[in-house]
């Protein structure tokens, strides 16, 4: 996993610097279990027994490093291949949702003139003495528009919440 040339490295360095102080909660919570034994020795100096061991960083955790262990916010920040894929999946999902809702709204709106043109008898229908055209276009269609808008709003917010959870779960969150 190599970040592309542009600002990747610099960003990680400054990220580490900025978050040195606030990183404790997330880092401690996540690595408490795996690094428990080492951590009892103090600040986790690796390789005390001489044998080459997996490097485990506990308290002074390198933020950028952590984020690269799991694909997530770090990739989005550093514009890695994975980051681009994540953002692309988000925009695809958002566009898909928008187009679906647009298709519903257009199907309702644009089919009305066509129905009226193909079924001239529909124009003669009256509801409580009022022409059907007046009832639909004057009032009936508005709740449909509102319902589509409401549905879209709810889905779009959920979609964004799921994306945030995917790239930056609460457990790993820096400022949680």
């Amino acid at each position: 996993m190599t970040p592309p040339a542009d600002h990747g490295a610099a960003a990680q360095a400054s990220a580490a610097a900025k978050h040195g102080a606030t990183a404790e909660h997330g880092a401690a919570a996540e690595h408490g279990a795996t690094a428990g034994q080492d951590a009892t020795a103090g600040h986790g100096t690796p390789g005390e027994n001489g044998a080459p061991r997996r490097k485990v960083v506990v308290w002074q955790h390198d933020q950028a490093r952590l984020q690269h262990d799991v694909i997530g916010l770090g990739d989005v920040q550093s514009d890695t291949v994975y980051g681009r894929l994540l953002v692309r999946s988000l925009t695809r999902a958002q566009l898909g949702l928008s187009l679906m809702c647009l298709a519903i709204a257009l199907a309702v709106i644009a089919s009305l003139p066509l129905i009226m043109a193909l079924l001239p008898s529909a124009r003669k229908v009256t509801v409580a003495g009022l022409p059907l055209t007046l009832v639909i276009l004057g009032a009936g269609i508005f709740p449909v528009l509102m319902a589509v808008g409401w549905f879209y709003n709810r889905q779009a917010s959920q979609l964004e919440a799921r994306f945030i959870d995917l790239v930056d779960p609460v457990g790993r969150r820096l400022d949680a």
Binding site: A15, A110, L130
Partner: protein, 582 residues
């Protein structure tokens, strides 16, 4: 004829607008303040301000007038104006807010890093803005004409002066709160008269609504002709006339009028028996091929190709709203993308509520006051209705409320438009600060006032529909593709904006000068959106695919900025990775 409460109400609305604008002067000091009222406006307030700015003369007077004169098909305008905000919500609200541009030229330059595209969009902002200002000015002209009997130009010039001066003094800062208030004023001003008149009308015959029915007088009606008119009778009718009719002086004589055109001089009084056909003035006559209950709009004098014309209006209004230059700036006042979505949804609800009432007023006119078919201008129907249905003080007061709402509509929409036009002029054409902005507001207002003087023969609904058509065929593809399509290049965007916007403008100018009044020509030129919107989209896509080399730099950063939820953006910022504009 002088309606004192109406004059007082108009004066009050105008003074209030100016007063709040003047208060804004003390707060607004930097150019940013002038263009966008600082960014912390909660969704409910913001939605009311957006709706207040959006509901223009066309919505307040135009739609009801069009329904009365052209038939139920005109309801497509109110459906389209509302659904336009749904399309805006679905496609652009949150990304546009996150992008952070507050004018369309800003978006164009920020997204495509192209000065050329910026200049092209600035030109179109000026065209759409001025085009949209014309119907507002026309509305003021006919309102004062009807209420005070002043010539048409007086209202136009009065509105021009008030709006230009107000914008030059206060900018948007004052306007935000005024416009929020003006939505509620407009809703009351159309809703209360509609409900009161509906209750007063009670249950009665719905004969004039029956399919295919020509309007008839439901009871014996005396029609007073205010200014000399030509009118058409659908069938031969017996009328009792006092005054000059068809160049003959009559004194309370019964005459038998054949079907066809007649001329009544000003001051003539005609008494129609119950069941007589309603005479209609030239501007209120429908094309012969359509009926009032037809669900289609028509184009041209022969009402050709109604389905095509209807789809033209649907496309223009659905896709035009998101390209209006004075709307985008309002989204910048949302704190984040989620708030922008909530705001837009509330706007859809507020607009849906408002648009129930023009239809009610139009139906009441048709049922209870068909003599308004003799009015010279369909757009004045709403203003004249209350005093006809409710003689005396109550009707006068309701009329005053309608007049105040109408003026609120002209003031709020033209203020928003003038801010956009003056902003584009001062920022892009003259490159100046606050002082230049003030100067440009006055220049832009003067140009709009002068241009509005000769347009009173076009209906408000038509004029506004055309402004929407231009926006839909230029800015809609630019914004929608700019937000969702990575491969859009600045060359493609510029080509699409120029071809689509240019074709649409040419079609409209040709229609205004009467190039095609019948058949396919009238339908395609009179409602151009049906072909110019697909044209603009295709030109943008094809040209972009042909010029892949000029894909703007940092497209991924742009996408990130527009589509990443705010929480993450804030965190990425803090992590030292600024996604600044290229």
């Amino acid at each position: 004829m002088l309606n004192v409460p109406a004059v007082a109400a108009i004066a009050a609305v105008t003074l209030l607008t100016v007063a709040v604008g003047a208060r804004g002067v003390r707060i607004a000091r930097t150019p940013d303040d002038f263009l966008v009222a600082a960014r912390e406006v909660p969704p409910g307030l913001n939605a009311a301000a957006i709706s207040g700015e959006y509901l223009s003369a066309a919505s307040f007077l135009g739609i009801a007038g069009l329904i009365v004169s052209q038939g139920l098909g005109a309801l497509w305008y109110s459906v389209g104006y509302t659904a336009g905000y749904l399309v805006l919500l679905l496609l652009v609200a949150a990304p546009l807010r996150r992008f952070g541009a507050y004018t369309i030229p800003d978006f164009a330059e920020g997204r495509f890093a192209s000065r050329g595209l910026r200049r092209a969009t600035t030109g179109l902002v000026l065209i759409i803005g001025w085009f949209y200002l014309l119907p507002q000015m026309k509305g003021a002209g006919i309102t004062l004409q009807l209420l005070l009997g002043t010539p048409y130009w007086v209202g136009v010039v009065a509105l021009g002066i008030v709006v230009s001066a107000n914008i030059a003094m206060g900018g948007m800062k004052g306007v935000t709160f005024v416009q929020c208030f003006q939505y509620w004023l407009k809703l009351c001003a159309i809703g209360i008269p509609a409900l009161v008149l509906l209750a007063a009308a009670g249950h009665g015959s719905t004969r004039n609504l029956s399919p295919d029915g020509q309007p008839v007088f439901s009871h014996r009606t005396t029609v007073q002709v205010q200014t000399g008119t030509e009118f058409k009778l659908a069938r031969p009718t017996t009328v009792r006339v006092t005054g000059t009719l068809d160049r003959t002086r009559l004194a309370d004589q019964t005459v038998h009028l054949p079907a066809g055109m007649h001329t009544a001089a000003s001051g003539a009084a005609m008494v129609f028996a119950a069941g007589s056909p309603v005479p209609a003035s030239l501007s209120m006559i429908q094309p012969a091929s359509t009926t009032w209950d037809s669900p289609f709009l028509t184009a041209g004098t022969d009402g050709a190709h109604p389905l095509l014309a209807t789809y033209g209006v649907i496309i223009a209004t659905l896709f035009g709203a998101l390209g209006l230059p004075h709307i985008l700036v309002r989204f910048y006042t949302n704190p984040d993308g989620g708030a922008a979505r909530r705001t837009t949804l509330i706007v859809v609800v507020l607009l849906s509520t408002f648009y129930l009432f023009p239809a009610v007023l139009a139906v009441l006119t048709r049922l209870r006051a068909p003599e308004l078919y003799l009015s010279k201008d369909p757009d004045s129907v709403v203003l004249a209705l209350p005093s006809l249905l409710m003689p005396g003080r109550p009707g006068e007061l309701l009329g005053a409320l309608v007049a105040a709402g109408a003026f609120a509509a002209f003031l709020s929409t033209s203020s928003g438009l003038l801010v956009s036009v003056a902003g584009a002029l001062s920022h892009d054409v003259m490159r100046g600060g606050v002082g230049t902005f003030r100067l440009c507001a006055i220049i832009a207002g003067t140009i709009a006032t002068i241009a509005a003087l000769p347009v009173n023969r076009f209906s408000l609904g038509l004029l506004v529909g055309w402004a929407f058509a231009i926006a839909a065929s230029s800015f809609c593809p630019l914004i929608v593709l700019g937000i969702w399509w990575r491969r859009l290049t600045w060359v493609g965007a510029t080509a699409g904006v120029l071809v689509g916007g240019g074709a649409c403008c040419c079609a409209i100018v040709a229609t205004m000068f009467g190039a095609a009044t019948r058949g396919w020509g009238a339908a395609l030129l009179g409602q151009p959106a049906v072909w110019t919107v697909p044209l603009a989209f295709s030109v943008m896509i094809v040209t972009s695919l042909l010029t892949r080399a000029s894909t703007p730099p940092h497209v991924e950063h742009m996408m990130l900025r527009m589509h990443l939820p705010e929480g993450l953006i804030r965190r990425t910022y803090r992590a030292g990775r600024p996604y600044s504009r290229a």
